[in-house]
Amino acid sequence: MSRRPAPRALAALAAMVLTAMFLTLGAGVAAAVEPDEMLSDPALEARAQHISKELRCVVCQNQNIDDSAAPLARDMRLMVRERLSAGDSDEQAKAFLVARYGNFVLLRPPFQPNTWALWLGPFIILGVAGAALVFASRTGAVDPADDAVEDDPLS
């Protein structure tokens, strides 16, 4: 029975599922949204909070606008809700703020020429590290007196 294809497919599936699952990693909670800001439509409010997690409070240190108690963050939260209530899509609401504050306000950097290195970098590093280490392990002496040893005490 050939075991090779099945484990690989399983691994790919596992990787995809795990990727989906980790996308929730690091998601904060809306720490500073006041009850009076929240929209009455729960679906819209959920969208607003979802978008807000990707918008940076520009006067804070690395917080999203939902997590910050700064007055400007509150203004931005209200603006997001206003845009959504006016019928904007998620992308349009974000673009509204980007037009005024620049890409700085996006916590997920856009994929554009000056950020290609950022998004593709991990793959490149993976390739280089992989190549370096595989080379390091493949070069060198083969000792014929070496036998595979089972269960050595060191893990």
Partner: protein, 183 residues
């Protein structure tokens, strides 16, 4: 499979090279100020707005007031310490004829009025932006910030922080002069 000596030497020196690049980036990075956010509105038209008055009985401040003129729009607040530092110099500039308009940001009009009474009013017109809508449209992140707007209504320059004599003499005054000559 063995690596040639040259390849091995190159691979071993590569980390040093990468670090060298990083060191240069860090060195120049130290000269930057990570807290200022440059404006993305330079060259774009100023937003439309109509602000209510700060002092009771005033006419407020709207977009029409600055049409066809070269103006400075100064965002300030009674709560803002740096604005209080900037204020006397603004009075000086206004006395010299500089066209400064004011946006009272995140302030109760009464508080703004009190400040103007105490420290003087350098503004041709001043409006209250308590809700922060105009400031949001201008991409304001703090006070004081001043925008230089030309005759066609385009934003030409954003001064982050107080206007100092150096800023005025070195940047703003020359730019205003050029814009007024129609360039």
């Amino acid at each position: 499979m063995t690596l040639s000596r040259k390849m091995l030497l190159a691979a071993s020196l590569a980390p040093l090279l990468v670090f060298g690049v990083l060191a240069v980036v860090l060195y120049f990075g130290l000269q930057q100020d990570p807290s200022t956010l440059p404006s993305v509105l330079i060259g774009k038209p100023a937003p439309t707005f109509a602000l209510g008055p700060v002092r009771a009985g005033d006419t407020g401040f709207s977009r029409d007031d600055i049409r066809g003129k070269v103006v400075l729009v100064n965002v300030w607040g009674s709560w803002c310490g740096a604005c209080k530092m900037e204020h006397p110099y603004l009075m000086e500039l206004a006395a010299g004829g500089a066209p400064i308009y004011g946006v009272d940001w995140k302030d109760d009009p009464a508080d703004g009025a009190k400040t103007l009474k105490m420290m003087g009013d350098p503004y041709v017109k001043v409006g209250n932006d308590q809700a922060g809508r105009l400031s949001l449209d201008l991409g304001v992140t703090g006070a004081p910030e001043t925008f230089l707007i030309d005759r066609t209504g385009r934003i030409r320059y954003k001064q982050i922080g107080p206007i100092t004599p150096e800023v005025w003499r070195g940047t703003l005054a020359p730019m205003i002069a050029k814009l007024e000559q129609g360039q």
